[in-house]
């Protein structure tokens, strides 16, 4: 549709991208020297999470030194972490399966910083570990230990290092870390 040329004016005067004299950055000195208002209020937000049906049984298993998964007879998957439903078939799972406490490193990282960017001298080694007895690709996140960071490889076989019986409390930390098999 033809248009009066007068309306083009606005477009012509604009650079791409159009941006004005806004978005003024503050320097570190200004920021920490009181150029902004800060508050030190600490929100005392507390949460009481229910473990839920599937996770409750999973944690009970961990307390006994066992890794539990669930199976869906529709898609044939054995899943960990366990859930009461299969999200792909969208139906209840068909039962519990005891898995091994061994697995394969799917991927890993050597992490030299904390969440607020403080340096660590010895790296943490988070990994996704595919658990033996579960379907391929079924992993959990945990930490590797008892290993030289230089030696960690994808495909490395690992085994859970459990806390002693009396120290286990039904938590993911009942496994201290995973070490090379």
């Amino acid at each position: 549709m033809a248009r009066k040329t007068g309306k083009l004016k606005a477009e012509r005067s604009i650079e791409a991208p159009p941006y004005g004299a806004v978005g003024h950055g503050l320097s570190d000195d200004q920021f920490h020297g009181g150029a902004v208002c800060t508050t030190t209020w600490v929100a005392d937000a507390r949460y009481a999470w229910d473990r839920g049906v599937a996770m409750g049984r999973y944690l009970q298993g961990l307390k006994q030194g066992r890794l539990l998964g669930v199976r869906c007879d529709c898609c044939g998957r054995t899943m960990i972490p366990p859930r009461v439903f299969c999200e792909q078939c969208f139906r209840p799972v068909d039962g519990w399966v005891e898995l091994k406490d061994t697995g394969t490193v799917n991927t890993f990282s050597l992490c030299y910083v904390t969440w607020d960017m403080k340096r660590l001298t010895d790296p943490q080694i988070p990994a996704v570990i595919e658990i033996d007895g579960a379907s391929p690709g079924m992993g959990i996140m945990h930490l590797l230990g008892d290993v030289d960071p230089e030696d960690v490889r994808r495909g490395m076989r690992v085994k859970a290092v459990w806390k002693p019986d009396e120290e286990r409390e039904g938590a993911i930390t009942d496994i201290r870390y995973w070490k090379p098999l």
């Binding site: 248009r3 650079e15 941006y19 978005g23 503050l26 990282s109 992490c111 969440w115 607020d116 992993g139």
Partner: protein, 386 residues
């Protein structure tokens, strides 16, 4: 599918590490520039689609409503969406159906983020994405997820670090010509490879920065678009999809959710051969490996082929398929929701031939923008064309 919808105007603030302006002020400026670019007034806007990340960043509950006055929402139907990093592109899809449905003639899409308020580091705001029973007791760090994905990608295709770092070099250098860029620089491959190791294989210069900024675009029905501009940029397709929240069960090497979102958008746009029918791309690049991941998910190349295309210069601004000619999140900056909308704005300027010194060399009639987020499992895709 639905009535035709065009983007007719766009504007953005500079992206900076810490802005003196409040979120409302940043939004106001971006909206003002977007309206000015198409000669429209707020009275001509029928509704507002607002995208902005978690309330936690600002420490303000109902942050969307807090921003609303600056985003032009007063007295108008308003809707806020949030799908994590995927928000900036999703907000356009949200605005699209407001107009495509015939309910409204115009929709203002505004995305704002002010990450600098959160102390000591906004990464803290993300930590609660980890499962509270199975993961948070291990005291995870957000970088872990990205490092684990990047390493999986590298080991699957036998890639070296430099194959990935080339993306950061390209984007940070592309951003030198973007007047709103935060961390444009003439970095070299060597600079990236020698930067501080955060969580191997992720190094400091592989990562986009913490940013403040706002972007706005104006959507219009065909009749309004033809009245206000000679160069409407049509929204040809929108798509979004989710993978499972059990992220350790996902294929960490390939973003299937991006592929599904892309298939939805391409189907709507009539794109059957993305490698040839897409002329310019703005995939989400908060980390350098993610641009490669997302190019593959968008089916712009085969799996594992994106690093070679980058090495060959195909994705350079003067290449056959320019990727992130804006400079992307790695160069322009990453104010979460605003970063995705910046990509839409870049395609708007590129397809109209208005990107100035950043204008890509090849002739482009169709582009794709994509963002990624939620629990690292959402893909959002918009196809634009002229």
């Amino acid at each position: 599918m639905g009535n035709r919808v065009a983007i007719v105007g766009a504007g953005m603030t500079k992206f900076v590490r810490r802005a003196q302006e409040t979120g409302k002020e940043l939004s106001f400026q971006a909206v003002k520039m977007a309206l000015q670019s198409c000669g429209m007034k707020m009275s001509q806007i029928d509704c507002v689609a607002l995208g902005t990340a978690p309330d936690t960043f600002d420490g303000v509950h109902m942050k969307g409503e807090y921003l609303s006055d600056g985003a032009g929402c007063w007295g108008k139907p308003y809707m806020r969406s949030y799908v994590g990093g995927g928000t900036g592109v999703f907000a356009v899809a949200q605005g699209w159906y407001h107009v495509a449905s015939g309910m409204f003639d115009t929709c203002l899409v505004v995305c704002e983020e002010k990450m600098s308020s959160y102390q000591p580091h906004p990464q803290g705001a993300f930590l609660t994405i980890f499962d509270h029973t199975t993961e948070r007791p291990l005291k995870p760090n957000l970088l872990w997820i990205f490092a684990l994905e990047m390493n999986r990608y590298m080991t699957t295709y036998g890639l070296r670090k430099e194959d990935i770092a080339r993306v950061a070099v390209k984007n940070k250098n592309n951003a030198l010509l973007h007047p709103a860029a935060q961390i444009a620089s003439e970095v070299t491959l060597d600079d990236i490879l020698k930067s501080e190791v955060l969580a191997w294989p992720v190094q400091r210069l592989d990562v986009s920065p913490v940013s403040d900024g706002a972007v706005a675009v104006v959507l219009a029905s065909e009749s309004v678009a033809r009245r206000v501009t000679d160069k409407p940029v049509w929204i040809e397709g929108v798509g979004w999809a989710l993978d499972t929240a059990y992220w350790t069960n996902r294929d960490l090497c390939y973003p299937r959710y991006v592929e599904e979102a892309a298939r939805m958008a391409y189907r709507m746009a009539g794109v059957t051969d993305p490698r040839h029918q897409i002329h310019v791309a703005e995939p989400y690049d908060p980390f350098d490996y993610k641009e490669l991941h997302h190019m593959e998910g968008l089916m712009l190349c085969g799996r594992g082929e994106a690093p070679q295309l980058t090495a060959d210069g195909v994705t350079a601004r003067d290449g056959e398929l320019p990727v992130c000619p804006s400079g992307g999140l790695l160069g322009v900056g990453n104010p979460i929701a605003a970063a995705g909308l910046m990509k839409i704005a870049e395609l708007f300027w590129q397809l109209r031939g208005e990107a100035g010194k950043r204008q890509i060399a090849r002739k482009a009639k169709r582009g794709v923008a994509q963002a990624w987020g939620d629990l690292m499992q959402v893909g959002t895709v918009v196809v634009l064309g002229v």
